[in-house]
Amino acid sequence: MSQERIVLGVIGDDIHVVGNRIIQLALEESGYRVFNLRARNRPEHFYQAALEVNAQAVFVSSLNGEGEYWCSDFRKPFIDLGIPDTLLYIGGNLVVGKRDRGDVLRLFKQYGFDRVYHQEPDIGVAIADLRNDLGHGKAKR
């Protein structure tokens, strides 16, 4: 069976790379093929890469809270490009300052993300969800 492909990267001018590298290693250890865009990405980097490598999922991180600014309507270009079923995950410190967790989760779901992890320290949670989501196929989402 061919490996499932994940596009991974940090959005905005955020340069937090330690977590990015750990997520890459964790995904690879779980058997996925990772295309790591690393730090300082714009939204187009993600959907262009997803199209190019035919990715099953996109993992976006934001450590410095820039996510809110960059990710509005994140799903739309994926639909326009004909890859509407790409799984979209985002995690990190998604907004600047302290805000209600539920509000943050709702906001990013509105942006089109399938899974949102706000200040969730364990990447293992997202990987378990990924395995589950990929197993169910697009109809279940």
Partner: protein, 393 residues
């Protein structure tokens, strides 16, 4: 304040906009800081302040000032620094690019630092050399000593080529005292050996120890203990200079009082716990042997790369992953090397990627890693990595 606390060097740390050559933004934020009476800059905007004001600032100070920054293109900054009377310049083409920049082309950075080395040399005399210092901690995140040491030797040679007369190699506290002692021993030996080999015997070399540069504990009591133990390690390795952290390291940019306290506590350790005899043991000797063999292997591989001039070979070494710095933000860093800690906390190479580590050395690395108990457990390695990175926090 640092002067009266007993510091021998007064650091001048540059703000992050100046480091990225964005002098107009630095000027704007300086203006805003003066207006609002609170600082919008995270360091001293030297280029904006200019040399006259800066020279005035240090007029009554009878100690050398050290420029600390992280600037890939430091040509103008260093010109202003030298005009200001600053006699020590930290940085280098590798150490101020790979850990500090996401996309600054390394070949340009090497050339710009060639310029910096040259102007430092031009303004040096035998009695009053402009001192150059490299930044060995790099990303300060699980960097195997051999990588850091290879970078130090390369930068010593690049500086010496341009006529620099006084050069300090440095490294960051590793998290293992055994490895600190071994790293210092090998670094001192190799810097001297390679400078002499390429006819730079006249270049004076020194050793600088950086206190823990990784994630710091947030509790001040633990941070104080870490700082004191790092000072002790600096004594044991006989460092010529130590770069001091503060108890507020985890919390942000420290204020002058906290800085002075840190210098005082390190001074206290230096005065009370002097170390006169070299410390050794079988594991230290084995570590020395391994680090030296690996570093020499990397350096000889770099020398073997094609290039009309040395920096071209160095650039190729980075492009091809012979130099691979873990957790570098730089887009061109190979990111193939994977490192982990062994049972005594020393940083081990698990997967060398394209770094030329010999089969025998890799076997030794894996042998030491295997002694760590949890390594065969069910815990996935990314959890162990997170633990290894944050070992002091």
């Amino acid at each position: 304040m640092l002067d009266s606390a007993g510091a021998d060097f007064i650091p001048l740390t540059i703000d992050s906009y100046t480091r990225q050559n964005q002098y107009d933004i630095a000027a704007e934020l300086l203006e805003r800081s003066e207006e609002k009476q609170s600082s919008f800059l995270n360091g001293y905007p030297l280029v904006v302040h200019g040399w006259e004001l800066t020279r005035e600032l240090y007029r009554d100070l009878n100690k050398p000032v050290s420029l600390r920054h992280g600037t890939p293109d430091a040509r103008l900054l260093v010109e202003v620094a030298l005009a200001s009377g600053i006699a020590e310049i930290e940085g280098g083409g590798l150490c101020y690019c790979i850990p500090y920049s996401e996309g600054f082309p390394l070949d340009r950075c090497l050339l710009y630092w060639q310029y910096v080395d040259r102007i430092c040399a031009v303004h040096s005399t035998d009695e009053a050399p402009i001192h150059r210092e490299s930044f060995g901690p790099l990303t300060a995140t699980m960097v195997p000593p051999a990588i850091a040491l290879a970078v130090q030797v390369v930068e010593a040679l690049l500086a010496a080529e341009q006529g620099v007369l006084s050069f300090a190699a440095s490294f960051g506290q590793t998290g293992s005292t055994i490895q600190d002692i071994a790293t210092a021993r090998v670094l001192r030996t190799l810097i001297r050996r390679y400078l002499d080999r390429f006819d730079f015997g006249h270049v004076r070399s020194y050793l600088v120890f950086h206190q823990w540069m990784g994630q710091f504990p947030t509790e001040r009591s633990k941070a104080a203990a870490l700082i004191a133990c790092a000072a002790q390690n600096a004594c044991v390795i006989g460092a010529d200079k130590i770069v001091v952290k503060t108890v507020d390291e985890a919390l942000g940019v420290p204020d002058p009082e906290v800085n002075a306290d840190a210098v005082e506590s390190v001074r206290y350790v230096f005065d009370r716990f002097r170390w006169v005899e070299p410390v050794t043991s079988t594991s230290i000797e084995a570590e020395i042997d391994l680090i030296e063999s690996e570093t020499v292997g990397i350096l000889e591989a770099i020398f073997d790369l094609p290039g009309d001039v040395f920096w071209e070979s160095v650039h190729r070494a980075f492009q091809t992953g012979l130099i691979d710095v873990p957790y570098s933000p730089h887009a061109d860093n190979a990111n193939r090397l994977v490192s982990m800690r062994d049972a005594n906390g020393s940083i081990r190479i698990k997967d060398p990627g394209h770094v030329p580590i010999s089969e025998g050395d890799l076997k030794r690395e894996h042998g030491l890693l295997a002694l760590r108990e949890d390594l065969d457990g069910a815990d996935p390695s990314f959890r162990r990595l997170l633990h290894d990175i944050g070992i002091m926090a």
